[in-house]
């Protein structure tokens, strides 16, 4: 039995698992790339929307300030009390305006208004106006700075500087707006988990950042040099998405910073959550499949396999119960049933063949036993008649007796094996009859081993050999012939020898005698005797002939030493 090769369920399981793995391995990279792209796109969209939102609110705020500026500009024409009343109201509505200051064309401070603080005596350095910039014309919105107009009060502001249109040319107003106002619009804007917005000018200076102090403390930094090169829109650099949006009419730009990694990992986390039950499901499915395969395919096939092996080993005593599982595959069931049928059929055929063989043999033996040479009977009866006519009654009586005995032994109540004693009597009767008929031509003798006489012997095996010895050996002899029949034991075997001193045979003649059926179809040939012995006792037994021309012939009949007919049956 070749034990190489894998059992079916392992093959199937490996195929299933391998296919799934290969599929996922080939699909996953492109899937995750697609997934990442989608995530980036959606993160970019979120970022763009966030900065657009911030941009529009800051823009709106600045335009409100712009309109405030024109009110202030108009108020400059009013008299002192009116103007004072206006500023009172203005500062109450706009609590984030820290100061309003006015300047002449050279940037020299003319007046300063504040809701809470009075101007210090000497302003040695005023950060609320940039004389260089107003000389170059046009208003501006400054970078963040502290207000230096007061004593003991240094708030961070951005300053909006605009020309005062009324009452002559060349005057300027500066509006200091607290940075905390901007923080309202910027601080709470989150993009994703850790994303945020900040405000920078077109040169890349940070105007407002939610973590401004961290940036001032050099604990954080933004790559503003890079960001300032970006156009409006979303830009993904590595894992960071920068969404940029310019604010109308200002040099400011809103920058949204968000991270792909966290968007991705959040998405992957989501995916993993669904992957775990999926994996569990797959694993249990594989488990169930393998169990099912085991039950449906593998176990029945293995059962069939071992049944076949058993059948191979011992076909005679094998009995097969066809497999009838509730779950078995139809093919397996029919295979199993076919095998069952086949086993039954083969066993039946084997039995039939054996019976037929036995029948054939028995029939053949009976037929052979029934073959009494009619010439022999005729000649013998003729001789008896002749003796009676001559008054040789003693001889006639003896001959009739011998003939009668010959026939009785021949028949032997139908048995196939008779004691060797009876077989020898049969041979003796035959020789006696022939010695009377061929008076003076030959003599005979028996040399027997008493131990062997109770052994069983196939019926009518010696007589055909004697017949051959007389008709072909002695008949042509001028001198008196001599026939010796001897019986001796040889270990577990018994050997009968028929020896004559007749003309003998050549090698070719011996071969012919052993091969050919008798041509006259009367009586029993030596080949027949040999065949019968071999059928009865096996190939180790039978007849061997030792002969030389003009010297005589010796025929050995070898049989097993058995005492009961059943002993022979066992063999």
């Amino acid at each position: 039995m070749n034990k190489k090769g894998l059992p079916i369920n392992v093959i199937v399981l490996m195929t299933v698992v391998g296919t799934v793995l290969a599929l996922s391995a080939s699909v996953l990279p492109s899937f995750s790339r697609l997934y990442r792209q989608t995530l980036i796109r959606s993160a970019e969209t979120t970022g763009r929307q966030a900065v657009a939102q911030v941009s529009s609110t800051v823009d709106e705020y600045l335009s409100t300030m712009e309109s405030s500026m024109s009110n202030i500009s108009a108020a400059m024409d009013w008299d002192e009390t009116e103007r004072g009343g206006f500023f009172d109201v203005f500062f109450r509505i706009r609590p984030n305006v820290v100061a309003i200051s006015t300047y002449d064309a050279d940037g020299a401070l003319l007046a300063c208004y504040s809701p809470t603080h009075s101007m210090r005596k000497q302003v040695e350095q005023n950060l609320s106006i940039d004389a260089e910039r107003i000389k170059n014309g046009g208003g501006y919105v400054s970078a963040p700075h502290v207000v230096t107009l007061f004593e003991g009060y240094y708030p961070w502001v951005v300053t909006m500087v605009r020309p005062i249109s009324t009452e002559g040319e060349g005057r300027w107003a500066a509006l200091d707006i607290s940075c905390s106002e901007l923080s309202r619009y910027i601080n709470d804007v989150g993009i994703g988990d850790r994303g945020y917005c900040f405000l920078m000018d077109e040169d890349g200076n940070i105007v407002y950042h939610p973590q401004q102090q961290l940036i001032y403390s050099s604990l954080k930094s933004e790559n503003t040099a890079l960001i300032s090169t970006f156009d409006d829109g979303a830009h993904t650099i590595g894992n960071v998405i920068y969404s940029v949006q310019s604010i109308k009419n200002t040099p400011w730009r809103v920058v949204g910073v968000s991270y792909v990694q966290e968007a991705l990992s959040a998405g992957l986390l989501e995916l993993r959550k669904s992957l775990i039950p999926m994996g569990l499901l797959l694993a249990s499915a594989a488990l169930i499949i393998s169990f099912l395969l085991n039950r449906v395919l593998y176990e029945p096939i293995r059962g069939l396999e071992s049944a076949m092996r058993q059948f191979e080993r011992d076909a005679d005593h094998f009995s097969y119960e066809p497999y009838h599982p509730a779950l078995g595959a139809r093919e397996i069931q029919s295979l199993s049933q076919s095998f069952g049928h086949m086993v039954g059929r083969i066993q039946q055929l084997m039995k039939q063949v054996r019976e037929e063989e036995i029948n054939l043999r028995k029939t053949e033996l009976r037929a052979l036993q029934a073959q009494i040479n009619p010439h022999f009977l005729y000649n013998t009866l003729d001789a008896i008649t002749w003796m009676c006519e001559r008054g040789k009654t003693d001889d006639a009586v003896m001959m009739v007796n011998a003939l009668a005995r010959l026939f009785r032994i021949s028949i032997s109540r139908g048995r196939e094996l008779i004691p060797l004693r009876s077989e020898l009597q049969h041979a003796e009767c035959y020789l006696r009859i022939l010695s009377i008929r061929y008076r003076g031509q030959f003599s005979y003798r028996f040399v027997t081993d008493e131990d062997c006489l109770d052994c069983l012997c196939a019926k009518i095996v010696i007589q055909p050999i004697l017949e051959n010895a007389i008709y072909h050996g002695i008949n042509g002899l001028i001198d008196e012939g001599m026939i010796t029949v001897s019986v001796r034991g040889e270990g577990d075997d018994v050997v009968c020898t028929v020896e004559d001193n007749g003309v003998g045979m050549t090698e070719e003649q011996i071969a012919a005698v052993m091969q050919k059926e008798r041509s006259d179809k009367a009586g029993i040939g030596i080949k027949n005797v040999n065949d019968r012995l071999r059928i009865y006792f096996g190939d180790a037994y039978g007849i061997t002939i030792d002969s030389a021309p003009d010297e005589g012939t010796r025929v050995f009949i070898r049989m097993p030493r058995i005492y009961e007919e059943s002993e022979y049956e066992k063999k």
Binding site: L13, H145, Q212, S217, L280, L287
Partner: protein, 318 residues
């Protein structure tokens, strides 16, 4: 037999999957306590603001406590023990007394609490990380700001705070060393006062009264700087006496503008607070961290105070 092996393999697979799934542990925020020297000076307000920024960023459960006066180390010790019994994961600490706070910190460390020291050190080897100004270097900076004058002979008056505080000692050592290297320095006189601008003002006046030749005055922390500056203003010393202070608040800025204060050595308390919480978080998370971190220090004078850098150093944004 083959079936049982299959079963075992499947079970193993399931367990692995479950283990993968269970790795996402829900995290409760770390509990941290920031124990300051004061809760009123601009310096500590900035530090607290910085800690607040890190608290938001790292989702930490942070509580902030500080004594009434900057001499009350016993109050700090009570806070330390309170934090330990409240089950804090980390204490961010600035020691009033280098020696007297050590035992309480050792106890806390024994209880498994992580210790991060900011600004002012404590005599304990159980401290996990130290964050603050390199005070020796800051002292040298103060000295160099004072030496930047043309007078041929220098008589230095130093107004220092509590003798037990480590950073004060180091600053004094730094500037003393630097002054000794300059041949013009004739005398260095140090007085110790309580940490209040009033006490410093009184002390400085007494010093000037006693030693009128004094032409360099140095206050070693925020209230002392204010006090020294106010004394100079009151006496109308002007350019004759060079006044150098540590840290900043609006009064210091006004004094700087008026010329009564010559230079300020500005530390970065916001960074100390922020990095204190951040480092404690890193330690608890098992991430790499700096065991010693020197925060930046700047010299601000009248000339550079309103440059972008000067504004950023002097004026807290938050």
């Amino acid at each position: 037999m083959r079936k049982s092996r299959l079963l075992a393999a499947a079970l193993l697979l399931c367990l692995t999957l479950c283990a993968c799934g269970a790795r996402q542990k829900p995290q409760t925020p770390y509990r941290m306590v920031l124990i300051t020297k004061s809760t009123t000076t601009q310096f500590w307000l900035s530090a607290i603001a910085g800690a607040g920024a890190a608290k938001a960023e790292y989702n930490v459960d942070l509580s902030i406590v500080g004594p009434e006066t900057e001499e009350d180390y016993e109050c700090q010790n009570r806070y330390i023990r309170q934090a330990v019994s409240d089950g804090a994961d980390a204490i961010i600490f600035s020691a009033i007394s280098y020696s007297e706070n050590a035992a309480a910190i050792d106890e806390a460390a024994d209880a498994g609490v992580k210790i991060v020291v900011i600004d002012s050190d404590v005599a304990s080897d159980r401290v996990d990380a130290r964050i603050g100004t390199n005070n020796l270097e800051a002292g040298r900076m103060a000295a160099s700001a004072a030496l930047d004058m043309s007078a041929p002979e220098l008589y230095v008056g130093v107004v220092n705070f509590d003798q037990t505080s480590r950073n004060g000692q180091e600053r004094e050592m730094g500037l003393t060393n630097a002054f000794r290297e300059d041949a013009r320095v004739r005398e260095i006189r140090t007085i110790h006062v309580q940490t209040s601008s009033e006490a410093a003002r009184e002390g400085a006046k007494r010093l000037l009264d006693e030693y009128p030749e004094t032409n360099v005055l140095i206050g070693l922390n925020e209230p002392l700087s204010v006090g020294v500056g106010m004394a100079a203003e009151e006496l109308g010393l002007g350019e004759a006496v060079r006044v150098v202070g540590f840290d900043t608040n609006v009064t210091c800025v006004d004094l700087l503008r008026s010329g009564d204060m010559s230079a300020l050595i500005v530390q970065n308390p916001y960074a100390m607070g922020y990095l204190g919480v951040e480092t404690a978080w890193k330690i608890l998370e098992g991430k790499p961290f700096d065991a010693v971190f020197d925060t930046a220090t700047a010299i601000v004078t009248r000339e550079n105070m309103f440059t972008a850098e000067g504004q950023q150093a002097l004026f807290s944004f938050s």
